[in-house]
Amino acid sequence: MFVTAASFKKTFRRDWRDWITFVLFAGPNLLLFVIFTYYPLIRNFLLSFQEYNPIIDKGEWVGFNNYVDILIQDTQMTRIMQNTLVFTVSVVALILVLGLLTALLLNQKLRFRNGVRSMLFSPAVLAGSAVAVIWLYIFDYRFGLFFQVLKYFGINSPKWLLDPQWAMISLIIVYVWKNLGYATVIYIAGLQAIPADLYEAARVDGAGAWQRFRNVTLPGLSPVTFFLGVTSVLNSFQSFEIINVLTRGGPVNATNVLVYRLYEQGFTEIQNYGRASVVATLLFVIMFILTLIQLRAIERRVSYA
């Protein structure tokens, strides 16, 4: 077909109209996005090299001073990194294992299983802060539920949230309780997607229940496990509300994690935006690396049975 001047003009006019429509439709969204996500992201990075003065609303460039303060001089930083690691690894492992076990149970033909599934999922939709308030009193060492039950059996209750040894365990319990339903629901969907004839074939080959689980169920679930692992790591890494309500990072930093440290530096008495931005940058870099590693692993190891 020949491109005549007239047809070119016509196409161009249609394109030009499309462009305007595109800008009108996507524009508001993109504008909000640039103002409230991209700009703050860049500003955070700049702030991490500044000493910010709130009175004149201006930052003074101080090079890597804030980084030195946080990464080298802050004696609590090792503790905080350790806590973050312990919290993330424990909750993700527990959520995956318990989630799989509950999903296997709820996948049986049992009465009331849908009701139990609804109950299981309900804490996942509630505000973390409200859930934490309930648990604050379950853990209370003077009259809380755990205290009363243990006392009934004649056992001395630990001071849970006030004891540096137990505080982290308490947080892990609450977080797992809240998010178990999420993993279970996704695992149930994964179980139901495994083709029935695979089990049939395994049975014909003489595989027992355990072997069928080991060789059919587990490999069939690996994409789901991977998805859950990724999202659980990213979510637990950002967990703030439960910590803020239950322990405020205490006692003596026993439950202080990166996100809480950021809040502490920026919005409590300390109020040092520069240092808070360094913690934020650290958080960003770690999340970025985790996402990259996970994207890599997705290509290599996961079997999409």
Partner: protein, 281 residues
């Protein structure tokens, strides 16, 4: 497919036992919250504890909470913020999702991947610069700070773009040839076909803004403008030691709206939370 692992009555019994245990663990904290909200403080802290209120059911605790803290106003604030944010999410996501899926524009794909790249950015990273932006705009302690920055969603735009891409192009082309414009084609033909995606999005948006805590904590301090999650914290700080019954009544009021909406629209909640990967935080 459900696998028949349960061959004999004993295994079946064991499974039901586990099921009961699980249900109990999940439901008991809620039961504890509710039952404590209608007991006097002294009965909550006594040993041994009683399962039900002994003297009488103190429904008056609820009225008392409403009287001593502005939790009624705060519930309304939460409701208003949630409605605005949800409308914003749906409108901006439908429009931009459609534009990215169907309207040719130079560089649209690059633009879209830049946009999606921010899905992994943790909100905490934006906390300080967003606060500074709010104070520059004069929005600290204004409800605008809880609404306007949240009127769009990268997740929502992605969800709707995928939904529009799943629909046949011919539908729209026929309408455009018949003389409808893009706007008409979108709202008459496409939008009704992606209602499930919109419902999922609205559900996630509801959860996201009703449950939000960190951002309001940073940006709102006037107690008449606080949202209900903050109000609950204040109630806890004021009466946690002396009037636990009131704190628990406040908790019931704070979680009730979410629970009711969850029970009414369970399917969309499960779908939404599963597809967004948003477990609670």
């Amino acid at each position: 497919m459900a696998q028949a692992f349960l061959r004999n009555p004993f295994e079946k019994f064991l499974a039901y036992l586990l099921l009961c245990g699980l249900g109990f663990i999940m439901i008991f904290p809620f039961f504890y919250m509710f039952i404590s909200s209608v007991k006097p403080h002294a009965e909550i802290v006594q040993f041994p504890p009683a399962l039900l209120p002994q003297a009488s059911w103190l429904w008056s605790n609820y009225a008392e909470v409403l009287k001593i803290v502005p939790i009624g106003t705060q519930l309304l604030n939460s409701a208003m913020v949630t409605v605005c944010v949800t409308l914003g999410w749906v409108i901006t996501s439908v429009l931009a999702g459609y534009a990215f899926a169907r309207i040719p524009f130079p560089g649209a794909n690059t633009l879209f991947s830049m946009y999606l790249g921010t899905l992994m950015v943790p909100f905490a990273v934006l906390l300080v610069p967003m606060y500074l932006l709010m104070s520059w705009l004069g929005w600290v302690d204004k409800l605008a700070a809880l609404i306007i920055p949240w009127l769009f969603s990268a997740y929502g735009t992605f969800l709707l773009r995928q939904a529009f891409l799943g629909l046949p192009k011919e539908l729209e082309e026929a309408a455009l040839i018949d003389g409808a414009n893009r706007w008409g084609a979108l709202f008459r033909i496409y939008v009704p076909l992606v209602y499930p995606a919109i419902a999922t999005l609205a559900t996630i948006s509801f959860l996201y803004s009703w449950n939000s805590f960190t951002w309001p904590l940073v940006v709102i301090s006037n107690k008449e403008l606080k949202v209900v999650t903050q109000g609950l914290m204040d109630l806890q700080a004021l009466y946690g030691g002396t009037r636990l019954d009131l704190v628990m009544a406040g908790s019931v009021m704070a979680v009730m709206p979410t629970l009711m909406v969850y029970l009414a629209a369970q399917r969309y909640f499960i779908e939404g939370v599963a597809s967004s990967g948003m477990g609670g935080r």
